[in-house]
Amino acid sequence: MKKPAQSFTLVITGAPYASQAPQTALHFAKAALDAGHRIHHVFLYGDGVHLASNLACPPSDEADWPAQWREFLSSRQISATCCVASALRRGLLDATEAKRYEREAFNVSEPYNIAGLGEWLESSQSSSRTLYFNGSH
């Protein structure tokens, strides 16, 4: 018997190039969609917020995980949040935060928005399961 489709929230807490978390999460997300499930929301937390930087420039012979994730989120129209407390500590700012903290540059933009832990809780409550990708366990 076919199992009913599930909806997943993915929480990524490992940074690209420091951990395997973003890659593992992306492979999971694609496999889940291929199997007919839904990705409800992606929440970047802790070191995972580095994935949202649009200033990452990996060497051209290496996989560009931030770009692959941006492309995946946009093409599949999946919403994604960067936790504001984690992001500010690590220098990940969108235009609004850059203005608020009077910084010259910002490195977070669409498809990510910056918001608080309420987004994590809300999406975890409205998904069938929440998976945490830290890349080190």
């Binding site: 807490t13 802790g46 984690s86 309420g118 994590w120 809780l121 975890s124 409550q125 945490y132 830290n134």
Partner: protein
């Protein structure tokens, strides 16, 4: 569906930020009236050590954060006995009420969401 959140802290405090960020998540879930508990295991039991003095490394003691747990509505603090023995923690921070457990799996099974950062 009612969720029950268990946050597993398995790394010592101060070496990285994951434990503090796990606490932020736990406290925020508790603030929204969700059932939440913390489980300390492995080197994570070092969070419970009495008389920590992290000022020399420009950090604030995590005991203060942990003593706020009950105020935030955290239901329980668990620590597994094997890890307490391994790190020779006969007596933990006296202000904390710790439930020692034998089987981690048994505790995890009481929660719908088990979070390891």
């Amino acid at each position: 569906m009612t969720r029950r959140y268990l946050f597993v802290i398995d790394r010592a405090p101060y070496g990285d930020w994951s434990g503090r960020e796990a606490l932020d998540m736990a406290f925020s879930a508790a603030a929204f009236d969700q059932p939440v508990a913390l489980l300390f295991t492995g080197a994570g039991v070092q969070w419970l050590r009495d008389q920590q003095q992290p000022a020399a490394i420009e950090q604030k003691t995590v005991s203060r954060n942990l003593s706020a747990a009950s105020l935030f509505g955290i239901e329980a603090l668990y620590a597994d006995q094997a890890s307490l023995d391994r790190f020779k923690l006969a007596q933990s921070e006296p202000s904390l009420e710790i439930s020692t457990i034998g089987s981690i799996r048994e505790v995890e099974n009481q929660f719908t969401d088990v979070v390891r950062l």
